[in-house]
Amino acid sequence: MSPEADTRHVLERFQEWRQRIDKRRAGLYIGLAVLAFVYLLPFEAGIMTALKSQSGYLTSSPLAPPLDSFTLGPWTEAWSALSGSFMNSLGFAVPAAILSAVLGSIAAHGLTNIDWKYQNLLFLLFVAGIFLPYQSVLVPLTRFWNAVDLHAILANLGPINVWTLPYMRDHYATILELIFTHTAYGIPIATLLFRSFYQELSTEMVEAARIDGATPTSVYTNIILPLSKPIFIVVFIYQFTSIWNGLLISLIVAGVGPAAPITVEVNKLAIAGEIPTYNTMMAGAFITAIPTLLIYIFFGDRFAQGVRGYG
């Protein structure tokens, strides 16, 4: 190819390229990028600050990477303040998410194939529970857990006092209270998510099985349950995220004692008006966010699916 033809070729390619991205397109991408910057800004500033020493974040721009002030100190400090409550939160969020998903699944199955006039109405009453402002149950909830002493009940339940067993701690009773409470208030949304999934399942198979005389129980175990794996993941992710992230109910049930969840403990690192050490506070915020961020990064689609089902 002659040099002349080569130049012409390149120019043609350039013209083509310019036509493809017209000005509006470029503006669109600039807009998208600026917005992405704004949405990521608090994360970026947070990570940078959590990697700086105190003198480092006091003297450098919050967005600047830590150069000579790099330290992991804030992370170890925050972790030592939060590790116990991190375990507490795991200890109730995982079982409560599983339990509410299981109960939601069986309730949804029972409410999907209508064989009773008021079944839809009953489902409506389940769904209304999703929109409950927790404030309206807090005082009775405190009264309830005051009256029902789970610790004493479990101590007297079997032939031996469970609290004297090795590895048992007294505050596990409070963790159990958290599991029961979060399970109960998680059932409505779990039922809603399962039910919309079950409604979309092919009814043909279910109908055929029913005509063959299958009971609701055998339909559930033989047909519905094996198909439910994807929705179980969606519901588990949704429930785990909201239980882990929640503050109010956990604060009321567990308080600031040894069973305190991480969303309560992290507040000890700083609030407005006090003089916080921002590097430790940001590290603590990230530690609190890690489980849900990991879920979001690895199961983003499932997370979005649960979110959409809510509306």
Binding site: L28, L32, L35, A36, L40, L41, P42, F43, G46, P62, L103, I106, A107, H109, G110, L111, N113, W116, L122, F123, L124, V127, G129, F131, L132, P133, Q135, S136, V137, L138, V139, P140, R143, F144, A184, Y185, I187, P188, T217, N245, G246, L247, L248, T263, V266, N267, L269, A270, I271, A272, Y278, M282, A285, T288, A289, T292, L293, I295, G300, G311
Partner: protein, 288 residues
Amino acid sequence: MIRSIHFWLLPMLIVFLAVYGTIGWNFIISLTDFQGITLPAYEVSNFDLEMYTQLIEDSTFWRALRNTVILMVLFPLACLSVGIFLAIIVDQKIRFENTFRIIYLLPFSLSFVVTAKFWLWMYNPEIGVINSILGYFGLDFLALNWLAPEYRLWAVMIALVWQFSGYAMIIYLAGLRRIPTTQYEAAKSDGANSLTVYLRIIIPQLRASTVSAAIVLIVFTLKAFDFLYAMFRSFPGPTADILATMMYREAFESANWAYGATIAMVLFLLALVIVVPYLYTEYRRGAL
């Protein structure tokens, strides 16, 4: 015979006791004078509306109610506007669509508590993120004390829009994808520009998405306690105090249990006013 009863009976009992039974119990407590460490006395002869009359005369209540209503109206509006804008620009057959979507939804995976911590750092008046950036561009006159009482409610709202606009985007995107593309094309071949297409043809069809997202966002506002508590503990000051924080203070810090239960009833009624018409129309439409 109801053949499915053994499926829903146990979950139903739990939900009914935990939700409806407990609200009933809360209402009964609001009729008593229960406070302090003594046990409540549930004597029908002593039930009265004293706490409610006390509430009506309490100026703290009216301020908290005002702030709650402002938040309930403006926050969902702002969130939906940002959300629909995000959904439209993400829906332009762009490259890296997934990446942008993930970024905009990322804050929604966070806890209210974590968002509060992030924004404490954003809003710090001396060395915080926003004021540093403004200073960098020589815009120091814009660098306000964001958490000062007069801006506090707005500061809260901005942080919450950051967290929840991605949620609105997801709902709107699902709505946009349900609209057949032939409609865009038909409108465009008529010579309408894209803004007109969106305003006249697309957005009206997103009514269902708007309603369901708005309901969820309003309910989130009623739960915004977590955020305010993580930022200011239980007293965000009169300019940002909401019913949820006031209720917590009265019941759990001052041990005015009956009074707290009364504020809780008002919150419950607020939720009812919004949710019942929504659920009723959904139910009538057969959407449930």
